[in-house]
Subunit: 230 residues, 2 copies
């Protein structure tokens, strides 16, 4: 009885002397040092964990201090748990302002590339090709904002977009020639505003464009929902 209590206080002192985040020896070596069995040691550690004195993780070890905020998982893993609605809301926050900055800072070469991409979105026939040129256009605009951090965030969001499998939904984006014509005209309008260095018009054009997509997707999702058995 006495010996194990001594071991517990020794363990506590040991932990208090450690810097937060520092790693404890493994359970197997700790129980040797303290001359107690692994089972009893784990009882002590359980209490310490409840008191937020340590935190544990299988395969890694036991650490002093309280569990750190889980590190950013890279954004692409959230693809499974996010919805088209969330993604479009995000893009609606982000991209209009990006277009505004692009209107200020785009180089002539970038603008001509935008024209090229926009034209392509009007003439390609299959949905995969459309998506490619659409993505390239939007990314060119993000590049034209000339802010590296902003571009990285854009790519991170796009990663989510690419790693989802709302497959049937995506095909609907260019389901009809009329729709494709609508997106193409919006693209032309957007690039025209950027080329004219008209900040507010560029922002507005991008906002309108994404809102259109949002409306379309919402409608499609509703239809699809009513058709699906579960």
């Amino acid at each position: 009885m006495k010996r194990t209590e001594d071991a517990e206080t020794a363990l506590c002192h040991m932990i208090e002397a450690m810097a937060p985040g520092e790693r404890l020896p493994s359970e197997r070596s700790l129980c040797e040092d303290l001359k107690i069995s692994r089972g009893t040691l784990r009882v002590f550690l359980e209490r310490l964990e409840a008191r937020k004195k340590v935190w544990r993780h299988v395969g890694r070890g036991t650490f002093a201090g309280s569990r750190p905020l889980e590190t950013n998982p890279g954004l692409s893993v959230v693809a499974d748990t996010t919805s088209p609605h969330e993604l479009l809301e995000m893009r609606l926050i982000f991209e209009p302002k990006v277009a505004q900055l692009a209107a200020l800072r785009a180089s002539r070469q970038q603008i001509s590339q935008m024209w090229y991409c926009a034209k392509k979105t009007g003439i390609v026939t299959d949905s995969k090709a459309y998506e490619l040129w659409d993505a390239t256009l939007h990314r060119t605009i993000a590049e034209a904002a000339h802010n590296k951090l902003l571009l990285d965030v854009f790519d991170a969001i796009n990663d989510v977009r690419n790693n989802t499998d709302w497959g049937r939904l995506r095909d609907m984006v260019v389901s009809t020639p009329a729709r494709q014509r609508q997106w193409w005209m919006q693209h032309e309008d957007l690039v025209d505003a950027i080329a004219a260095r008209n900040e507010s018009r560029a922002e507005e054009a991008m906002r309108k464009h994404i809102e259109s997509v949002q409306l379309m997707i919402q409608g499609a999702a509703r239809n699809q929902l009513s058709l699906m058995p579960e």
Copy 2:
């Protein structure tokens, strides 16, 4: 002479028949199949790479089609290459809209937590504690937007913020009681707008707040620049 040319055209046809992104056999097995040496094969591949017909990567292989956009490196690694200016521009794009959504969707509990954090930013004395409560306030607002993807993006941006070492710059944020009072009042105003469910006022308050920080940091950076030897 003739045989190698045949091999080159055969290689071209092979690649054209492949789907973009598909992986070619390794150089060592390809040159066996085509009955040519690795050196000449590599000359062909070099030409194909220049024409964007293939792209190569050491340790991975050679792939058909044009090189895909480089994958998101995790956002936290860009911390070294980004600047306070870029970060604040990013936040200025992002957070006002987040505040607007928060005004729509914040729960009562979240609002009371905002009040608590805002009050703390007014009374704490050391700059580390200020940063803690400031960060908690801003993150609570992001949570209140109730969009998981948005929150992840917010955390990613914050990661950059934490992983930089513009140390002296950060201390200046609360360098004087007058400054701290300024930020505190802006925080109170912001939370008040959210609590009142006033979207446009919340957006405006957040914009004003970040613009103030932006101005301050710019001024501080200028001063520091003029003091630094290199």
